[in-house]
Symmetry: none
Subunit: 412 residues, 2 copies
């Protein structure tokens, strides 16, 4: 069977045309057992794609899956793997079938694809992950370990040191005769775990085709990278909008795509011609880029019971509670900001919004006199640290005086 093509037809029959022991990876994204119809219109409203997830019974559904799996196993190389993507409503039933076809002992991982999502009014927990089962044909499967960065809290200094066991069998850092630590060989990072946080395909993403249940190319890239090499053959029996094939082409793997919907095949082919892969801003930059607030600022916001805001230079957060039905913006005076600058920024960011209260947290001392006459209705609160600093400056006599003058509540 010719590779690097997308075939239209029933996947079991098409799979039968593939020679045995020839495929390195089969990626399955079967229609979910959600019992409903999915439909979506593409960007310029020129086409509506839809398909049914309706089956007479779960048994019928599982039988279909089992048949496809059996045929898939036949075409897989000894070193090959299957990745099966499914949703939570039937994942356990599907895994029972996987066990039956591939064997319990060839189960490798339950991969969790987690993502952030818009919320809704559902009673219960917000559903924010999907599961991918990873089975191999034999225990001699191909696997490329990918490495991720060490977590921020890891003490890299220590990791880089060689270790040995002391006389009690305890693991200790190896030292040379001068008592200095020995720096060990290069570390590659932390092996990739089975929890993958990859942004869900955003509604505005250019990569979006309008086909329902479309998966991000980045997800497929990760799968292809860990179990295939350049030139290997990837098969997707339910290829839908063709994400797997796009990924395979991008990573220079051979591919065969199959789908029963003529629309899907057409769409997949056109995507291959014009490959758009969203460079996820979020993944490139990492969350840390976005979470620019210092710990100190976050602590202040938590203290004041406010949400942090990341994308606004004039506003650092909003109180969770509103004032007279209107949100209350909060700004924290920056380290190199005068109080006047801070007020100006907050006012500017509030322009056109009818805030009834704005709060500025003062973090540094200022000659307060300058402020009188300044036209603004911003309310200024001193941070606890600033209040403490002022406290520490006064001397014993002052404290005595304060206590005599009104007791305990004198200092705020």
């Amino acid at each position: 069977m010719e590779t690097n093509k997308i075939y239209h037809g029933n996947c079991i029959e098409k799979l039968k045309e593939i020679e045995a022991n020839n495929v390195d990876l089969i990626y399955f994204d079967p229609p979910f057992f959600t019992q409903r119809k999915h439909s979506l219109t593409n960007k310029d409203n020129s086409k509506t794609y839809e398909f049914d997830d309706k089956y007479n019974s779960i048994q019928e559904y599982l039988e279909l899956i089992e048949n496809v799996l059996q045929e898939s196993k036949r075409v897989l190389k000894k070193t090959g793997s299957v990745f099966l993507h499914c949703d939570k409503t039937a994942s356990h039933n599907i895994r029972v079938v996987m066990d039956k076809v591939f064997g319990r002992e060839n189960f490798q991982s339950e991969i969790v694809w987690s993502y952030k999502r818009w919320s809704n009014a559902k009673k219960g927990l917000l559903n924010a992950h999907q599961v991918i089962f990873f089975y191999s044909k034999t225990l001699d499967f191909k696997f490329n370990t990918l490495y991720t960065d060490y977590s921020a809290t890891t003490n890299l200094d220590q990791i880089l040191q060689d270790r040995e066991r002391d006389e009690n069998g305890k693991s200790v850092y190896k030292k040379d005769k001068n008592g200095n630590v020995i720096l060990g060989k290069e570390k590659k990072g932390v092996p990739l775990s089975d929890v993958w946080e990859i942004p869900y395909l955003n509604p505005k993403a250019k990569e979006r085709t309008g086909y329902p249940t479309q998966k991000p190319v980045l997800l497929l890239n990760q799968i292809l990278n860990i179990v295939t090499d350049v030139g290997d053959l990837v098969v997707d029996p339910f290829c839908g909008s063709g994400t797997t094939c796009v990924s395979a082409k991008y990573l220079k793997r051979q591919f065969i795509g199959i789908d029963i919907s003529k629309d899907a095949v057409g769409l997949a082919n056109s995507r291959l011609e014009e490959m758009i892969i969203s460079e996820s801003n979020l993944l490139n930059k990492g969350t840390s880029e976005y979470q620019e607030k210092t710990e100190k600022e976050l602590a202040i916001l938590q203290n004041i019971n406010a949400f942090p805001v990341q994308r606004n230079s004039g506003i650092d957060g909003f109180l969770k509670e509103h004032f007279e039905g209107i949100p209350v913006p909060v700004k924290i005076q920056g380290e190199y900001e005068t109080i006047e600058d801070a007020i100006e920024k907050l006012e500017k960011a509030s322009y056109g919004k009818n805030y009834k209260m704005k709060i500025l947290i003062q973090t540094r001392e200022t000659g307060i006199s300058q402020l009188f006459g300044f036209e603004s209705d911003v309310i200024i609160m001193k941070s606890l640290e600033l209040q403490t600093k002022e406290l520490l400056k006064i001397n014993n006599e002052d404290i005595t005086r304060i206590l005599q003058n009104g007791g305990l509540s004198a200092r705020y």
Copy 2:
């Protein structure tokens, strides 16, 4: 059956002693089904026999689980829930049993508990999550939605604005006749999702008991918080080292723990007792390890530039900066503490030390007048949250008056 106790014995029999329709939450952490490799394998072509053998034993295992689940269902209230924690090797089989006993329609969530872990040399992905199934007895189950912060990429400024549909059905921001945006109602944050990243064992809390499969108290706290209220009854039929009971006690829920191992029951009881001892003992001996400082308290301490102190009931931290060469103890008023109690505790903890300054952070409103004449040199500072609360209470006219009376710095 008496609550707030840990029973030794077979869980099915003990469950039978519990009255029907009486329990709010059952948390299951059954012994995992780990496949053992039998040495029989090599002998005379016993492959199929061996497979059968395993199959039989997992059947047996699942039957046990099913029986416990049936008995559990009986004791659950109509509004009750079950959380079943299991490892990946048998989770799908167990969920099939859950479907059978509780019904597919009562499946609520597949919770992913993810954590960072030491890497190992295993071929494949690093296993870094466990799954917890959440089923309810009926659709009328009790559920408290928890809220988390917005994502870093969310434009909160915009989210707070009201929207409407224009003539083309497009969603646009609502504006008043002056062209200003209209600010919408209060937001609580994003509903908690089904992916929970909780460190394996909170390194701060010395929970480690050495008992295998011990779960972090934070994980159990989260579960108890979403499906039970204070005073509700929680049952753990495989309670092991008793984390569920510790969490229940901490969150003021009633509990019944059961375990078949006498060692486990002893360990669980001593963990519970330790909590009791540390609560009743005003000496600083072993402040409850489980009652770690809440995030709020830590934020306040960071705010005031202080080190947290864990093992002293009268002192929560010390300022990093000293006052006249002497450390400055800080206490934060507890949620259920009057300001007088707080002062007394702080004074008591300071007894015999020559602190020249002591700081108490007031977190709740008090009739301050009671305090005058109180003999103490503790300095009281209001937390930012309290200051904000007071701000939100005043009305517009007050603000105007304040602004006229002295401008910006009027409110501290």
